[in-house]
Amino acid sequence: MTEKYQNFLRRYGTALGGLALFIFFAIAAENFLNPSNLLNVLKQISFLTILAIGFSFALTTSELDLSFATVGSLACVVAGGLIYHQFSPILAIAAGLFAGLAAGVINGLIVTRLKVPSLIGTLAVSSIATGVSFWITGGVAFVGRWADAFLFLGRGQLVGIPVLVFWTLIIAVFSLFVLKQTRIGIHMIFTGENDEAARLGGIPTQKMKVLGLSISGLTAGFTGVLLASTLSSADPTAADGFMLTAIAAVLLGMTMIEPGHPNVPGSLIGALTIGILSNGLILMGVEYYVQDIILGMIIIASVSVSASTITKAAFSV
């Protein structure tokens, strides 16, 4: 009985903590429970969540992707630039996604072919992505009134719910399906769990690592496109700020459901917790730096639980 209880706490403790936080704000923060506020929170965490899910794919194959935020900015600038220059929205979206995917594939090849540790390789790609973003924009954001079809992607609503919420749900469900129900998913998990065993078992582990990093790039690309649409502008640093919060969401997610390992539902709850925290604190009128302090504490507390997975990803070639 107690063991069962302990196991339950191990798997769902953090989620319960998130729930406690929710209840706390519901009582202490005025307007928190307003449906419009709750939708607002869901909408705001969508970028964070999509990036976090992509990052956890890379981490599943035991590789870090520290480039997703700036790659997101690059995709934002690519998509936004094309829209700004009157190209069709379809082309702009495709180009944004492609930019993200290409960066992910390059990350994968750097890690698997050149044998550069992902911690360093993706950081280098991050720098390159930033450089290209500034090259494209000259540092000046593309702004304007863009085609409605394109703006719908990030600003639209369906049955009163922001489209962004649907994107997040679709990506979360699809990712969960891929990881848990498909062969490619379990091959990625095996690669992350025991690279050598997976290789000896006939799993193309190098390809799986490339795939994990590519998915991270692709979701970053999608986030960039969504940002361009939501903001109706494309700034060369648009997604840069999501780096730490998205990683924090994944780390927080690794303290639950499958403790010590990246998992989609965990990342989702992690992002939700961070979103609730940020929103609740603002509703309560707490000063801005408190959020940063808490974010830092969340990261430390989470990593103390899942340190081995992270260090393996960070320092193995």
């Binding site: 891929v178 498909t182 062969r183 379990i186 769990e193 025991n194 065993a197 000896l200 078992g201 006939g202």
Partner: protein
């Protein structure tokens, strides 16, 4: 008995280290061949070459009379050569059936070509069946491998060979680090495989085990084959002495081929 595997003058060097110096040997269908020798003799290296995990520096491998070039373990598996490694090569956090089917999952197609859905139910059933054939009881196919005993893990690893319908199973020190009872269990597993007409190559430092299950023994030393002998009327002590002295005496049934 027909020849299953034929190795001709296998050389392998890791930089300056000469791990294998021209080893030739023949494996016949249905036998249990033991490869013995001191630490660093080249046993693991030899089987890594057969299993496709490493490429030989020179030499040839023939399977059923045809020359093969295994570029990866997957190639070898496809030809029915399955290897159970010294460290078992399992993913402890994952479930029993997932480990048995690692890299060879049963799937169904979806409308997206590269996305194949796992057939978890069929895999669990088949996994239970393989383990049953080895007389091993593991109740929960969904239990993580980390929760199993050493003998049970060995069984999981061997079941993988069954999954591949391997005709040649190679085992590197399958009883190392196991207790008495579990060692007995693993030896039993090997006999089960042998009864099912699977050819087996086993590496072991435990002479008792070798004498108990092997039909023939090859002894390596410093990357060379010292000789071969049969296990009939051979005692563990005698085998130990042969390895230690580096001489098979009149037990040797084959002459060492010339060093190239």
């Amino acid at each position: 008995m027909a020849t299953l595997l034929d190795l001709k003058s296998i050389h392998k060097s890791y930089g300056a280290v000469q791990a294998l110096n021209g080893v030739s040997l023949t494996v016949r269908e249905g036998e249990v061949l033991a490869i013995c020798g001191d630490n660093g003799a080249g046993k693991s290296t030899l089987i890594k070459i057969v299993s496709g995990a490493e490429a030989a520096t020179s030499g040839q491998v023939f399977l059923r009379g045809k020359e093969v070039h295994f570029a990866s373990p997957a190639d070898a598996l496809a030809c029915g050569v399955a290897t159970i490694y010294q460290d078992l090569a399992l993913a402890p956090r994952l479930q029993v059936y997932q480990n048995i089917f690692m890299g060879a999952e049963l799937t169904r197609a979806t409308f997206i070509p590269f996305l194949r859905i796992l057939d978890k139910k069929k895999m669990s059933q088949a996994a239970a069946d393989y383990l049953g054939r080895l007389n091993i009881e593991i109740k929960d196919m969904k239990a993580p491998v980390a929760s199993l005993s050493g003998g049970q893990r060995q069984a999981v690893a061997i079941s993988r060979a069954l999954r591949w319908q391997a005709s040649l199973v190679i085992m590197d020190e399958p009883t190392a680090a196991l207790g008495v009872r579990e060692t007995a269990q693993v030896l039993d597993l090997i006999r089960q495989l042998h009864d099912q007409a699977v050819t087996i190559i086993i590496i072991s430092h435990n002479m008792e085990d070798v004498v108990a299950v092997a039909t023939r023994i090859v002894i390596l030393k410093n990357g060379l084959k010292l000789g071969e002998c049969l296990t009939e009327n051979l005692t563990a002590a005698e085998l130990s002495r042969m390895i230690a002295l580096g001489d098979l005496g009149d037990r040797n049934i084959i002459r060492q081929t010339a060093v190239e």
